[in-house]
């Protein structure tokens, strides 16, 4: 009887210097400034600020939790998964759109106050909570679901690895609205479909199993559609999933052109 020899896992290559004692996490002090707005109290927004002692492993979301749980329970923000999956907590941190749960405090300049504001371009409801309904309305309009013609296949709908790869990037969207709310065109004209709707249309337009690409291209050929994009690249920079948003928009533009011209 012989058993296969199982290779032992190699030892960790990371060498923690002698100065790092096990389990010890460095702490530092930060100033957190949060843009507050409560229409039931005042029509004016204002800044509130707190001094907090945080750990090197903490994220902006942990700082917000600390404030909400230990200092001021009225601070309002959305979050659900706390791990960059659900897309609830996109906010403007030091002037850039990011997920609070994916932004480590130590990566920000902790010598200055850390500014946290709601994402721009959508109506603020309270503190960091914005009305996402216009955003989802545009998302619904591009029909983000598989549409096919003909009969159900008797097997699963087959697709080659290359065909799957064609739209892989845009499958990663978590609908956080960081892109749409970073777009200067959307800031002044909320009727623009916005990058997120185009990204999610791209995901189906270039899916070989889907048959409604033409309909989606027609929807995005609107005067508030892809042609409003000015290739500013704010969206690509904001996307917490690293989606090449501007590239996806260009590919949709290209698809509309080659279909029409």
């Amino acid at each position: 009887m012989s058993t296969e020899t199982v290779e032992k896992e190699p030892a960790s290559k990371i060498d923690l210097g002698p100065e790092v004692a096990g389990g010890e996490i460095p702490t530092f002090d930060i100033t957190l400034k949060v843009r507050r707005y409560n229409p039931e109290v005042s029509d004016e927004a204002h800044w509130d600020e707190w001094q907090l002692t945080m750990y090197g492993t903490d994220r902006v979301l942990d700082a917000l939790h600390k404030v909400k749980w230990e200092h001021d329970g009225s601070v309002s923000f959305r979050r659900s998964c706390a791990h960059g999956v659900c897309g609830s907590d996109a906010m403007r941190i030091n002037g850039r759109n990011r997920l609070a749960c994916k932004t480590l405090l130590k990566d920000l300049d902790t010598s200055k106050p850390i500014l946290v504001e709601p994402i721009k371009g959508l109506p603020v409801e309270k503190d960091l909570i914005v009305d996402m309904e216009p955003f989802f309305q545009s998302y619904r309009e591009i029909m983000p679901f598989l549409i096919t013609k003909g009969h159900e296949p008797t097997k699963e709908r087959l697709q080659s690895a290359e065909e799957r790869d064609r739209y892989d990037d845009t499958t990663k969207c978590i609908l956080c609205a960081a892109c749409t709310s970073s777009c200067p065109v959307f800031w002044t004209d909320g009727q623009y479909f916005g990058p997120a709707a185009i990204v999610n249309a791209h995901r189906f337009i270039f899916d070989s199993r889907d048959d409604a690409g033409d309909m989606r291209l027609e929807i995005l050929n609107d005067k508030e559609g892809v042609w409003r994009c000015r290739t500013t690249f704010n969206c690509s920079e904001a996307c917490p999933r690293g989606i090449q948003v501007t590239k996806a928009i260009s590919e949709v533009k290209q698809a509309i052109l080659t279909r029409k011209v």
């Binding site: 309904e133 002044t188 004209d189 009727q191 042609w227």
Partner: protein
């Protein structure tokens, strides 16, 4: 006491500023987008040849005077060249400003006013420019006096 009814805050309500109301004007925006790129590519050639001929070639900038312009416009080749340059750059520039107005004005009335001024200016400049290129007379006769330069045919 009757319980006050509160509208469900999530009952499909979209703030009015966000709903797309006006219908799309066919392929206009697509054509405009394409035009910006095509005219841009042509403008590169038109503009740089224009700059080279006027400012570098021959006597350079010191050679530019009434006679230089008159000489160029006596040639149908440069008439067509300058006409194309005028029309393409005006339409290209106008559409560029139209897009900027759409991007930055946030009231529909502001948009309308700014575009009104823009389109009026464009029409005036294009019409005036076209007229000048075609009706330009290098040897005008003013009040019966011929302004003859050395390049004019003898009267």
């Amino acid at each position: 006491m009757a319980t006050p009814t509160i509208d469900s805050p999530r009952s499909g309500r979209v703030s009015p500023g966000y709903s797309r109301t006006s219908s799309s004007r066919g392929n206009f925006e697509m054509i405009a987008w394409l035009f910006m790129r095509l005219s841009g590519a042509i403008l590169v050639v038109l503009i740089f040849v224009h700059l080279y001929i006027n400012l570098v070639a021959g006597d350079g900038i010191t050679g530019i005077d009434f006679g230089f312009v008159a000489g160029k416009w006596a040639d149908p080749f440069w008439q067509v060249w300058d006409l194309t340059l005028l029309w393409l750059s005006m339409l290209h520039g106008t559409n560029g400003i139209r897009v900027i107005i759409n991007d930055y004005a946030d009231k529909n009335s502001t948009r309308m006013w700014l575009k009104g001024v823009l389109y009026t200016a464009t029409v005036v400049i294009v019409v005036l420019g076209t007229l000048v290129i075609f009706t330009f007379d290098p040897c005008p006769v003013i009040d019966g006096v011929a302004h003859v330069a050395d390049y004019c045919p003898a009267p």
